[in-house]
Amino acid sequence: MRQSPVLSLAAVGTVAVALALLAFFAIAVLNVQQLTASWGENLAIVAYLDEVPEEAKLKRWVKEIEAYPEVGSVTFVSRAQAFERFRKRLGDDADLVEGLGVEVLPASLEISLAEDHLSEVTVTGLVERLRRDSRFDDLQYGQGWLEKLEAFLLLLRISGSALGGFLVFAALVIVSNTIKLTLYARQDELEAMAMVGGTSLFIKLPYLIEGTLQGVIGGLTALGLSFLVFELILQESLGSLLLITGIDTIHFLPSTWQLFLIACGGLIGLLGSLFALRKFVRYGSA
């Protein structure tokens, strides 16, 4: 690195920029996933009750439904509570319901799903079971919405993987070419090493180590850069955007992802050097 600082800097910079882009994308994907997961958490099946049973009976019903493995919790919402909620939701237009009695809204059981059962299949299954139960007048849940959420998450994961793969591949090609430039500058040295009997590994090893180091430094720089941007920009602008949707905070990459990013840098540097060296260390032509 000491011998060609500009080219080494270019290699480190390339890895840093590519991985920083990847890190930004990962931060976005992670936070969107978290956001949609929180939407999923709020997913509930509302079972409207034709008749409100007496308290002991109601408790038995609640316990009975809570015993289902896919159910997280069951909350009873009385007519009065439902009416109060509705009135609050109307806000300034609350006077529209003035004069109406609580009996206009049915009592209900709000059934939240267990965290590991937030899927379309489970919800549909549970709804089918409840539908067969004559105690419940009507059932409501986010039918089409859940399907769309699942499709969106899948699309996000696929596009994330594709874009990530593309970015890593682009970084690999650019790093390989940058390292090639470094090697052009040292072609005489490589040739001289081969002339005195240096084995391929003996000649390549220092360059492979150098490439890996450059990649690791690039990865660390990307991490620092993305953290800086996260702190200074993302938390401000994206944070306020997410507040609207009900998420009060956005998160940086977890430590395993950070390590993965640095390791990815090292791997890009190693593979980039390996590809570049293939054309340089040759012993003769046929």
Partner: protein, 230 residues
């Protein structure tokens, strides 16, 4: 020590750089390869250190057929050869000491052994006081002496020199030739490509003249200015 059997080398189809070369160089011999530019002198040397592969024929070095050597065996062959080029091919970012010690490091010799050997070799070429200089701080003659030291430090079986004095003035040329003579006297076989007829007359040895990729003449050492044809 070196044998060529019907060796041909073509870089392009129907354009032979070397054609049907048959040659035998005994252990401890000093052989000049001469001829006009493009005659095949450098190609012949390149075939010996496997920078090029023959299109046809077999080459033996120290009894081993190097024609079929794979890339993993080439470094081992080169460790037994000393190679000197017209343009020195020194590592400019390494000191004189590091340049000369490099072939020994490649061979995995011990540090103490390396320093002893390097110092001794640099003393032989008269550069022991330039250990810590970089090649570009030296004159052309001194750089070539470093290159010779790098070639000789491994006690090579064969020293291959491709126009080693081509860039040097006459006085420095004599110094380099004295180094080659000394190495030859210690038993190293030398093949030296040159088109300097004056040098050949001054240091008479066996002369192989190449013309258009073929051996035109193979003469025994000159005696009193005359050559005995083989």
């Amino acid at each position: 020590m070196v044998q060529f059997f019907n060796v041909s080398k073509a870089y392009q189809r129907d354009l032979n750089a070397l054609s049907d070369i048959n040659l035998k160089v005994a252990k401890g011999e000093f052989v000049y390869l001469t001829g006009p530019s493009g005659a095949g002198k450098s190609t012949l040397l390149k075939l010996l250190y496997c920078a090029e592969r023959p299109t046809r024929g077999q080459i033996l070095v120290n009894g081993r057929n190097i024609t079929r050597f794979g890339s993993s065996r080439i470094p081992l062959l080169r460790r037994n050869l000393g190679i000197v080029f017209q343009d020195f091919k020194l590592l400019t970012r390494r000191t004189v000491y590091e340049n000369v010690s490099f072939p020994l490091e490649v061979q995995g010799r011990k540090r103490f052994e390396i320093s002893k050997k390097v110092y001794q070799t640099l003393k032989n070429v008269g550069l022991e006081h330039r250990l810590n200089h970089y090649p570009l701080q030296l004159s052309g003659g001194e750089q070539q002496r470093v290159a010779v030291a790098r070639a000789l430090v491994v006690d090579p079986l064969v020293l291959l020199a491709d126009e080693p004095t081509g860039n040097l003035d006459p006085e420095v040329t004599l110094d380099i030739m004295e180094l080659f003579k000394g190495a030859n006297a210690r038993g190293t076989t030398i093949l030296m490509a040159t088109h300097d007829r004056g040098l050949i007359h001054q240091f008479p040895r066996r002369v192989i003249t190449l013309e258009a990729g073929q051996i035109a003449t193979d003469d025994l050492p000159l005696v009193d200015g005359f050559a005995d044809s083989m």
